[in-house]
C-alpha cells in the first residue's frame, strides 16, 4: 500500500450522464471520493447508484461524461483487479462452482498468485465453506464471497454496491469493522446503500444522490446537526412557554397528529427536565433522540422534484432468483 500515491486512489465522477431509452438514470453527476476514508454513496432505490458504479467499472458506457479511478478510465487500467475491487449486486456465481474455484478462476484471469485465494477466503470468514458449491450458499455467504472476490487483487480502491444486503447482524457488524480497517490502511472505500442507518456508523463522508443527480456531498458530521429531545406532556402550551422563557434559542415543534408530543432542538434531556420541573409541568415521556440521519436523508432527497410517472430505471431491479445449476 505504501507505494501508492494519493492520486492513485482518487475516484472521480465527472459530469456523468446515462440515458436508458426514455429514462435518464444518471443526470450530469459529479463528485470525488478520497482515499483513506469510507464514503457512503446513498440514495433511494432507483436513484442511479448502481448505474454510476457500473459506469465507473466500465460495464455500462456513459452517454456523456467521464468516470475515472486514479485519473484513468477503468478499461485503461493495466491490471484492473489489482487496482480496483468491486462488489456489485448483480454479480453472479455459478451455482455449481465452489467458492474456492470461483476465486481461482478470477485469480487465473488476473494473474494473481493462487495462494491469495485462501487468504481472502480467511479474510471473508469463508474458509470452512471454501469447497462447497455456491448454489448452497445463503445470501450472506454470497456477499462474503463477493467481498472476497473484490479483495483478491489487494486493490487500492474498493467499490461496494449494497454490501450489507443479506448479511445477518453479526455480519453487518463485521463488515463495518472491516471497512473501517480497509480505509485505515489508506484505501478508498465507496459503499452504496439505500438505507442510511446501515452505513451511518461506518462512513466518514456521504454522497447523496436522487433521480440521478447529486443532492449533497458532505462529511457525516455536517449532516447530523444538533441533537433533539422528545417530550410528551398534557400541557404543551405551558411547557413551550417555560422553555421559551428559560432559553430563547431552543426550537420547539409540535409533532402533528400526536397530542402533546414536542420535539425540542438544541437542548439535552436534563435541561428540558429541569425546566419542566421548575415550571411544574407534568411530563409523560422524556428522551434524547440522536439526530435522525434517516430523516435528514429523506428530507434532502425529497428536495428534488417528484419523479416522473415512468418506470424506474431498469438498473436497480432485483437480480433474478438464483437458478439451479445448468
Amino acid at each position: 500500500m505504501a507505494r501508492s500515491s494519493e492520486a492513485e486512489g482518487l475516484v472521480v465522477v465527472d459530469h456523468l450522464t446515462k440515458r436508458f431509452g426514455a429514462v435518464l438514470a444518471v443526470d450530469d453527476l459529479s463528485f470525488a471520493v478520497q482515499p483513506g476514508r469510507v464514503t457512503g454513496f446513498l440514495g433511494p432505490n432507483g436513484a442511479g447508484k448502481t448505474t454510476t458504479l457500473r459506469m465507473l467499472l466500465g460495464l455500462v458506457a456513459p452517454t456523456s461524461g467521464r468516470a475515472t479511478i486514479g485519473g484513468v478510465r477503468y478499461a485503461d487500467l493495466a491490471d484492473p483487479l489489482t487496482a480496483v475491487g468491486a462488489c456489485l449486486e448483480a454479480t453472479g456465481f455459478h451455482a455449481g462452482r465452489t467458492a474456492r474455484d470461483h476465486l481461482r478462476v478470477l485469480a487465473t484471469t488476473a494473474g494473481i498468485r493462487i495462494g491469495r485465494v485462501d487468504e481472502v477466503l480467511d479474510l471473508a470468514g469463508l474458509r470452512p465453506a471454501a469447497t462447497r458449491r455456491v448454489g448452497g450458499f445463503s445470501l450472506g455467504m454470497r456477499q462474503r464471497l463477493a467481498l472476497a472476490s473484490a479483495l483478491l487483487g489487494d486493490p487500492r480502491v474498493l467499490l461496494l454496491d449494497e454490501p450489507a444486503n443479506g448479511l445477518d447482524p453479526q455480519g453487518i457488524a463485521w463488515l463495518r469493522g472491516f471497512l473501517r480497517y480497509l480505509a485505515g490502511q489508506g484505501r478508498t472505500v465507496l459503499v452504496s446503500s439505500h438505507v442510511l442507518s446501515e452505513v451511518q456508523q461506518t462512513v466518514d463522508e456521504i454522497v447523496i444522490i436522487a433521480r440521478g443527480s447529486l443532492v449533497r456531498q458532505a462529511p457525516l458530521a455536517d449532516l447530523e446537526g444538533p441533537p433533539t429531545v422528545v417530550v410528551r406532556t398534557p400541557a404543551p402550551a405551558e411547557l413551550t412557554a417555560a422553555l421559551a422563557r428559560a432559553d430563547p434559542s431552543l426550537t420547539v415543534t409540535e409533532v402533528p397528529g400526536e397530542e402533546g408530543l414536542l420535539h425540542i432542538g438544541g437542548a439535552a434531556p436534563a435541561d428540558v427536565g429541569r425546566i419542566a420541573h421548575g415550571a411544574g409541568v407534568e411530563l409523560h415521556e422524556l428522551y434524547g433522540k440522536p439526530s435522525d440521519l434517516e430523516e435528514v436523508f429523506l428530507a434532502v432527497t425529497a428536495e428534488t422534484p417528484p419523479p416522473p410517472a415512468e418506470a424506474p430505471p431498469p438498473t436497480e431491479a432485483p437480480p433474478p432468483p438464483a437458478e439451479a445449476t445448468a
Binding site: A61, A75, L77, L81, T91, G92, T109
Partner: protein, 263 residues
C-alpha cells in the same frame, strides 16, 4: 491472452457440466457405433446398408459417434457464453477483462481444446468398439489405411468446430435456454431436414454448404443417405465451411453483444 485461456479451461473444469456431457457422448457413441457396425452389410427393408468390404463403411462405423457428439460440443459452446449471462458471471469476467475483445477468442481456443478432446473420445471409442465387431463379422478393421486415420482426426476436428458455432450462438442469443433450444433444434432437426429436402429437389449444391453436410464431408460422406443422391464438398472445403460458420457467428456475437452495457 494465455491467462484468459487458462481461466476459461478452469471454468470448464470446475463445474459438473463437462463430465455430464462427456458421459452422454460416451453413451450415445457406443449406441451409434454398435448399431452401425452390426447393420453394416445387412439388407434392411430392401436397401443394403454399406458393405463391410467398403472402406467408407468402416470409416462411417468408427466415426458414428460424431452424429451425436457434435451436439454436445455445440451445447458446451452455447453455455460457455450464454451461461455467463445466465449466472451473471459475465460481470466478473468483464471486470477482469474490461477491454472485452479477447473474451470471445479465449473462449474459442478453450472450446477447440475441450471440443477436440470430446471428438477424440468419441472416435477412439468408435475404433475401440467398432474394430472388434468388424473383425468378428469377418471384415477388415483397416485401422491404418484407406483414409481411416484421416477420417478419425477430421471427425474430432469437426466436433471441435461445432463448439465454436455454439459459442457464436451463445454470444448472439444471451438467453441460455433459448440459445440452446435454437442451436440444437436447428443443428439436429431443422437443418438436416432442410438438406434432405434440398437434395430431394436436386438442389444438393446448396445443401452441401449447410453445417451438418459440411461436417459429413469432413468425416464420412454417405453418398446415398436416405436413398437420395447427396452432394458433398471435398473434406477440406467442408472444414473451411464449418470454420466460416463459427467465425461469422462468433464475430457477430462479439461485435453485437459484447459491446452492450452489462447491467
Amino acid at each position: 491472452m494465455s491467462r484468459l485461456i487458462l481461466a476459461e479451461l478452469l471454468k470448464v473444469r470446475t463445474t459438473r457440466l463437462w463430465w455430464g456431457l462427456l458421459l452422454a457422448v460416451v453413451g450415445l457413441t457406443l449406441v451409434g457405433v454398435v448399431a452401425n457396425a452390426v447393420i453394416a452389410g445387412m439388407e434392411i427393408s430392401g436397401q443394403a446398408a454399406g458393405s463391410l468390404d467398403d472402406p467408407a463403411t468402416i470409416r462411417r462405423i468408427y466415426t458414428a459417434g460424431v452424429g451425436t457428439t457434435y451436439l454436445f460440443t455445440l451445447a458446451l459452446g452455447v453455455i460457455s457464453m450464454a451461461g455467463e449471462f445466465r449466472h451473471q458471471t459475465i460481470t466478473a469476467t468483464l471486470l477482469a477483462t474490461p477491454r472485452r475483445t479477447p473474451v470471445v477468442p479465449a473462449k474459442a481456443v478453450c472450446l477447440l481444446i475441450v471440443g477436440f478432446g470430446y471428438g477424440l473420445v468419441s472416435v477412439l471409442l468408435g475404433v475401440l468398439v467398432g474394430a472388434p465387431i468388424v473383425a468378428l463379422r469377418g471384415g477388415h478393421a483397416r485401422l491404418l489405411g484407406d483414409g481411416v486415420p484421416r477420417a478419425i482426426v477430421l471427425a474430432a476436428v469437426a466436433v471441435a468446430l461445432w463448439g465454436l458455432i455454439g459459442l457464436g450462438v451463445g454470444t448472439l442469443i444471451r438467453n441460455q435456454i433459448i440459445a440452446l433450444l435454437t442451436a440444437i433444434g436447428v443443428a439436429f432437426l431443422a437443418e438436416p431436414l432442410l438438406s434432405l429436402v434440398l437434395n430431394a429437389v436436386h438442389a444438393g449444391r446448396f445443401a452441401q454448404y449447410l453445417p451438418t453436410q459440411a461436417t459429413a464431408a469432413l468425416t464420412s460422406p454417405a453418398p446415398a443417405a436416405g436413398g437420395l443422391t447427396t452432394m458433398y464438398l471435398p473434406w477440406w472445403a467442408g472444414g473451411l465451411v464449418l470454420l466460416a460458420y463459427a467465425v461469422i457467428f462468433g464475430t457477430l456475437g462479439a461485435v453485437i453483444t459484447l459491446r452492450r452495457d452489462v447491467t
